[in-house]
């Protein structure tokens, strides 16, 4: 393992720590940033579309394709029998079938694949095919799945201390449960792939995917070919959020299947409604807790059970439920803990990665516990949160990793001060006393999020850097660009490394033939992994150039790369002149770079280890209003401190924080996935599934970067930022609960499942009203 000098030096050429625009920003505002469907189609390009099962569970008895066969423009209809290699494209464990020929396990599961001369004809043909089935009873209820132990993977649990004894011996005990809703990714660019034969008998595939290597491998396996047969390219995605980590692959495989058999280009693009129906979502969860605590709200022990609705197959659910378990503590120390995670099998599409990867669904339990404990003791929830924070001496997680960086108390205290927590709290209490219909709520919640893939081998990355003889630089790495600005950040790192201006670095599409065996761009790891790999490549080339300069100019090893120049004892020359000179003297100007995250390990048998390299932190304070007649609600002010280490690009980091927060707010409020009793997705489009709109942006929205160098040796001591701020949105949910709490004069806090739609809020308000009535009556009887 190579280690690096990673501290941020005074910037040269202004590459690092500056808010450079996203590399594609100008193209994006001009409409000239092309996504896969925007490129001119190859001549003779055909279009494919999946044919979908009409039931939720059962077996296929007969298929009638006659109407589709008769449709002009239909070229061929493929079935599972046309797949030369593997039918199962499960990314980690088997279970995801590309086309089913017998068993149907969820509504709209793909059965056949039609290829036609146009997208419209392919869709029409797919609609005309009749699939006859023997229907069986579907399992859609998670409680049934739990009772019958229907798992896609075996349960796992974390244990530290003696939870049961600690809870029973504690002064106070509480129990609670929570149903947590799922979430549709709603990337604006839907799933799409284009496969075309190349001149050497292989396939060139463009796929909107976070994981080009996996798409490459799966296509090769489906077609029974070596991996080198397939090249996957990905320039940019129109959003992904985890929804293109595994969910892009089936469409790449189907396009490739068509191209393989027909010898011409085949494109597959899902219509939005089918994108909703056919791709996995954030897992809904059903969770329970039992907690014991003392008079100060200090927790003695917890027993938490998290149950993920995994859908019909494992997909990534094992790691997702693991991450839910790893985050059921959030930022709080549980001296005694038992945390169990079940992976429940139900007849829906297989749920998948989504920003936070199960973390949010586990972490919300910790926040519910804090609020419930505070309500039970009649204390302020923020005090309970502060009391239970990890700190020195109280720093071992339920998975036995030691928490070493303790910044949250400082972040909370600063935000308390800067955003007037206590004054506003008092004002709101007064407002609520005098406002019968509109109630305000306020809540501050912290986030501690573990960074690294919990699947250890994924924590590696590669890069490829060329310096051309004119000094311009070509950068390629294994990460994918989905809007987060990864290419911009890695280019800044390379520019900083060579001491040149950012525009010297050219960015190129991610390709499996440039950097092989890559990991998905996921787990917030894009910059940590690929930035470090690129920096490694830069350092290798710099070492060669430095050695060359020392020898060529006969100077000491004090060779400095800065301000587009290389200076040494006897003078300096421009970077481009050095590149030319080095080339003429036969010095290699190209290198790969590689990085593997150090220090991490996890023993699943013992449920102990250090699954995370470090933690990212954040704190958010949200103020809301609710209408207790209708349950309508609004977020009026949000203040955030978020820890990004040394920021490589502050504006891109703030963009991730703001965007993640609003996406989390949507998950917890308006985004309401609904399935019909027969198992068909009811909210199958943006008309019924509502992500936040522009008017939902809080009127006041302050985001401040808490810049403190990462104590771990990450690239320039920065921190991952993609996922952690998503969970800052718990402050909204908690503030809504706080507003509802006021209905009972802060005496009874009803549970609030998510998403907290107007309907759920009204239910909770009614429960609080009822409690108050019952309670007042009892008092009257006294």
């Amino acid at each position: 393992m190579r280690h690096f000098e990673t501290d941020k030096k005074p910037t040269s050429g202004g590459a690092l720590g500056k808010s450079h625009y996203h590399d594609s920003a100008i193209k994006q505002v001009c409409g000239s940033a092309n996504y896969i469907d925007d490129n001119p189609e190859p001549a003779g390009c055909l279009h494919g579309y999946p044919v979908l099962a009409p039931i939720t569970a059962g077996v296929i008895t007969a298929i009638d394709t006659s109407a589709a066969d008769a449709l002009e423009g239909v070229v061929r209809i493929f079935s599972a029998a046309d797949i030369p290699g593997k039918i199962d494209i499960g990314p980690v464990f088997p279970g995801d079938v590309l086309l089913t020929d017998k068993e149907i396990q969820y509504h709209h599961q793909p059965v056949l694949f039609v290829v036609a001369e146009s997208h419209d004809i392919a869709r029409q043909a797919a609609d005309l095919i009749v699939i006859h089935c023997d229907e069986s009873k579907a399992v859609l209820d998670i409680h049934q799945a739990i009772a019958e132990k229907r798992w896609v993977r075996p349960p796992h649990s974390l244990q530290r201390g003696e939870a049961e004894r600690a809870i029973s011996e504690a002064k106070h005990q509480l129990k609670g449960e929570l149903t947590v809703g799922g979430q549709e990714h709603f990337y604006l660019e839907g799933q799409i792939s284009l496969a075309q034969p190349n001149q050497d008998g292989g396939l060139f595939v463009q796929c909107s995917t976070q994981h080009p290597t996996e798409v490459q491998h799966l296509i090769a396996k489906v077609l029974k070919q070596p991996f080198h047969y397939v090249t996957v390219e990905m320039r940019r995605m129109g959003g992904a959020f985890g929804g293109k980590e595994t969910q892009g692959a089936p469409w790449g495989c189907l396009a490739a299947l068509g191209a393989y058999h027909l010898g011409c280009a085949v494109k597959v693009r899902l219509a939005r409604t089918d994108d909703f129906r056919l791709t996995g979502k954030r897992h809904p969860f059903y969770n329970k807790y039992h907690v014991g605590f003392d008079d100060d709200g200090l927790i003695d022990g917890v027993d938490i059970e998290v149950n993920g609705y995994c859908g019909y197959s494992p997909d990534l659910s094992d790691a997702i439920v693991d991450r839910a378990m790893f985050h059921a503590d959030n930022a709080y120390y549980y001296p005694n803990a038992k945390i169990t995670g079940n992976r429940c099998k139900v007849n829906t599409v297989s749920h998948t990665a989504f920003r936070g990867f199960g973390g949010p669904q586990g972490m919300i339990m910790a926040e519910q516990i804090m609020d419930d404990v505070a309500a039970a003791l009649g204390k302020d929830p923020l005090e309970i949160r502060k009391t239970n924070l990890y700190r020195i001496g109280r720093d071992i997680t339920p998975y036995h990793q030691k928490v070493e960086q303790h910044v949250l108390l400082d972040m909370i205290e600063r935000l308390e001060q800067d955003a007037d927590y206590w004054q506003r709290k008092a004002k709101i209490k007064d407002f609520n006393q005098h406002s019968p219909i509109i109630k305000k709520g306020l809540a501050m919640t912290p986030v501690k999020f573990g960074i690294s893939f919990t699947v250890q081998h994924l924590n590696q990355a590669g890069a490829l850097v060329h310096v051309y003889s004119d000094g311009s630089i070509h950068l390629n790495h294994g990460g994918t660009e989905m809007g987060q600005g990864l290419n911009t950040k890695v280019a800044q790192i390379v520019a900083q490394g060579f001491g040149v201006d950012l525009d010297v670095v050219g960015i190129t599409a991610t390709r499996t033939d440039k950097v092989p065996n890559t990991s998905p761009t996921a787990a917030s790891s894009g910059t940590d992994l690929n930035g470090m790999a690129a920096l490694n490549a830069v350092n290798i080339i710099k070492d060669r150039l430095t050695a060359f300069v020392i020898e060529h100019f006969d100077v000491s090893d004090k060779v400095v790369f800065a301000d587009n120049h290389i200076s040494h004892d006897k003078g300096s020359l421009s970077f481009s002149d050095l590149a030319e000179l080095a080339y003429m003297n036969r010095i290699s100007l190209s290198s790969t770079g590689y990085y593997a995250t150090p220090k991490i390990h996890y023993d699943r048998e013992k449920a102990q280890g250090n699954p995370f390299f470090y933690y990212s932190h954040g704190v958010a304070l949200s103020e809301v209003e609710i209408d207790i007649l209708t349950g309508e609600n609004t977020v009026t002010r949000v203040d955030i401190y978020h820890d990004v280490g040394n920021s490589i690009n502050p504006s891109l980091d703030v963009g991730q924080i703001e965007g993640a927060f609003i996406q989390g707010m949507g998950w917890l409020t308006t985004e309401d996935l609904q399935w019909k009793p027969n198992g068909e997705l009811a909210s199958a489009g943006p008309a019924t599934y509502k992500i936040p709109a522009i008017g939902d942006t809080p009127a006041e929205f302050n985001v401040t970067l808490y810049e403190s160098a990462n104590p771990e040796a990450t690239v320039f001591r920065s921190k991952a930022v993609g996922e952690p701020p998503f969970m800052l949105s718990f402050s909204v949910w908690s503030a809504i609960r706080n507003a509802i709490h006021s209905v009972s004069d802060y005496r009874y806090a009803p549970p609030l499942d998510t998403p907290a739609t107007p309907e759920r809020i009204l239910q909770a308000v009614t429960a609080a009203e009822q409690w108050l009535l019952d309670n007042e009556q009892e008092n009257d009887n006294d």
Binding site: H22, S24, A25, I26, Q28, V29, C30, G31, S32, Y35, D38, D127, F186, Y187, L188, E189, M237, G238, G239, A240, A271, R272, H434, S435, P436, I437, I438, M482, G483, G485, I628, T630, E632, V635, L652, G655, E658, G659, F661, I662, D672, S683, G685, P686, A687, T688, K690, I691, P692, A693, I694, G695, D696, T697, A699, F701, P758, L762, V765, L773
Partner: protein, 510 residues
């Protein structure tokens, strides 16, 4: 044949499928892929374009006005005579640098307003519409109204809100497109006055865009099964989602008689094909209580294209205008070769998506009476999201009173039954009552006798009933200006108190 101006280029089209959308034409026929398809249902705004229309100036001078629309919902035939502007026209330099950009583009770059960039062309077009139609920054509320139909999944919108303001801070640049359009309109007049109805033809299938009511009636007599559209903001969704292939489409969106709007001393006469945006300002000056209802109806793109005639003809149980029209006792004109039939909007709906429109009839006009001085009107829409969402429950109540005693009540709901419908039991309960909270709370208690709503993707039946009752309670408080110190949902008595209370939440962004 139809003719239109596309960016700087005059276009003539004759052979074309009647169900082709402008988005599809741009992307597949012209290779202009800057305009994106995000949903093909008009919900995301990624396909937003500007549509220019010639409007008569008071001085008789012809000017062009540009409005945002969803190109996925705009049937190509409806583009006849218009000027469509796409993202490719905003900056023509294909190797543009920051200095070459239009102010709205520059502001979006400088505010980091794009991340994945897929929604960005649509956002730029909505910002451009805002820029063209306002000389200076019009304020956050107007920005939200203009961009409520543009979804962004990456940024959380904060940088976009900032960019909307910043665009007006640079040196203002003149709009070059209407001059092109004026030249085009001269050419259009020269070429089209040859008596033929503009149309698209694809074998036996056709799209007609007649310019007069007489032509509409004649066409309908000839093509009895033809589908009528105006803005087609709903019909195009069916075409895109259910892949329908209608034989004949007749668009009334340019029929002179159907696009006239008249305000008289006693009523508003709104042509069936007048887009919402063209009449709601006048209507809401008279009925300010309905302002929010129209602000929340679809998105700006939909309000610029959608019409009352389309909404009523579509007979959706959840369309927002119908309950308002019923509560205000509006009427509609149905025109056929036999003449014009006038019916109450209330009587138009006869079942789920069924109307009393006869096969040879077309909706030509909606007539909304003006209010009596003592009329009290309340309009409430409940949905999961504030912007661009369909009502879970829409409640409109119009009551008149003498000496604080209710003399008439018309209460109409959307989302509670198979059609937009009156709540007769609630009305009876209100009649003769005093205008105070208790009267309305009591009226709310009979809502189950009027309706047995469904449980669906938007809400359960229980919520619909509960919220209907609570909305009547709110209306009672608002109408009686009752001010209350302590107020419990579980009780029906409302004590009086000195200061007015706030009954509505603030809109998040404002």
């Amino acid at each position: 044949m139809i003719q239109f101006l596309f960016n700087g280029m005059p276009i003539k089209v004759e052979k074309c499928s009647p169900n082709r959308t402008t988005l599809d034409w741009l992307r597949t026929k012209k290779g202009k892929t800057g305009t994106k398809e995000g949903c093909a249902t008009g919900d995301c705004g990624a396909c937003t374009i500007l549509v220019g229309e010639e409007v008569e100036h008071s001085g008789g001078k012809s000017v062009w006005q540009y409005k945002t629309m969803n190109s996925c919902l705009m049937l190509l035939g409806n583009v006849h005579g218009k000027h469509i502007l796409t993202i490719e026209a905003v900056t023509t330099n294909i190797h543009a640098g920051l200095a070459d950009l239009h102010p709205v583009q520059q502001a979006m770059v400088e505010c980091h307003g794009s991340q994945c960039g897929f929604c960005t062309p649509g956002i730029i077009m909505s910002l451009l519409g805002l820029y063209i139609n306002h000389k200076s920054y019009p304020g956050k509320k107007t920005v939200i109204e203009a961009l409520g139909g543009n979804l962004c999944r990456c940024t959380g919108y904060q940088p976009i809100l900032k960019a909307a303001e910043k665009a007006f801070e640079y040196e203002r640049i003149a709009e070059p497109w209407s001059a092109m359009a004026c030249r085009f309109s001269q050419q259009l007049i020269d070429e089209t006055n040859k008596g033929k109805i503009p149309h698209l033809q694809d074998g036996e299938r056709a799209f007609y865009i007649p310019q007069s009511a007489a032509d509409v009636v004649a066409l309908k007599a000839k093509h009895t099964t033809a589908t009528f559209v105006a803005g087609a903001t709903d019909f195009a969704i069916e075409l895109n989602q259910q892949l329908r292939q209608p034989q004949t489409i007749i668009s009334v969106s340019q029929v002179a008689e159907f696009i006239s709007f008249t305000e008289t001393a006693s009523e508003f006469q709104i042509g069936a094909a007048v887009p919402y945006k063209e009449f709601t300002e006048s209507l809401c000056q008279h009925y300010p209580e309905a302002t929010e209802l129209f602000e929340r109806l679809g998105s700006m793109q939909v309000r610029n294209a959608g019409t009352l005639g389309g909404s009523l003809g579509n007979a959706s149980p959840i369309g927002d205008p119908a309950p308002l029209l019923i509560a205000l006792n509006a009427q509609m004109n149905l025109q056929s070769s036999q003449g014009t039939r006038v019916i109450d909007v209330e009587d138009f709906f006869i079942g789920y998506r069924k109307t009393s429109l006869k096969e040879n009839e077309v909706i030509s006009k909606i007539i909304i009476p003006k209010r009596s001085e003592s009329l009290k009107l309340a309009c409430h829409k409940i949905s999961k999201r504030f912007e661009d969402d369909i009502s879970t429950v829409c409640l409109i109540l119009a009551v008149d009173h003498r000496n604080n005693v209710i003399t008439s009540a018309r209460c109409a709901f959307g989302g509670m039954a198979a059609t937009p419908a009156r709540a007769h039991k609630i009305e009876q309960q209100l009649l003769g009552g005093k205008i105070n909270a208790t009267t309305f709370i009591k009226a709310g208690e009979v809502v189950e006798r009027d309706f047995s709503p469904l449980t669906d993707v938007r809400a359960t039946a229980d919520y619909r009933l509960a919220v209907s009752k609570n909305l009547l309670k709110r209306i009672g408080i608002e109408f009686s200006q009752a001010s209350i110190a302590r107020f419990s949902l579980a009780t029906t008595t409302v004590p009086e108190a000195p200061s007015p209370i706030s009954t509505r939440i603030r809109h998040a962004s404002l």
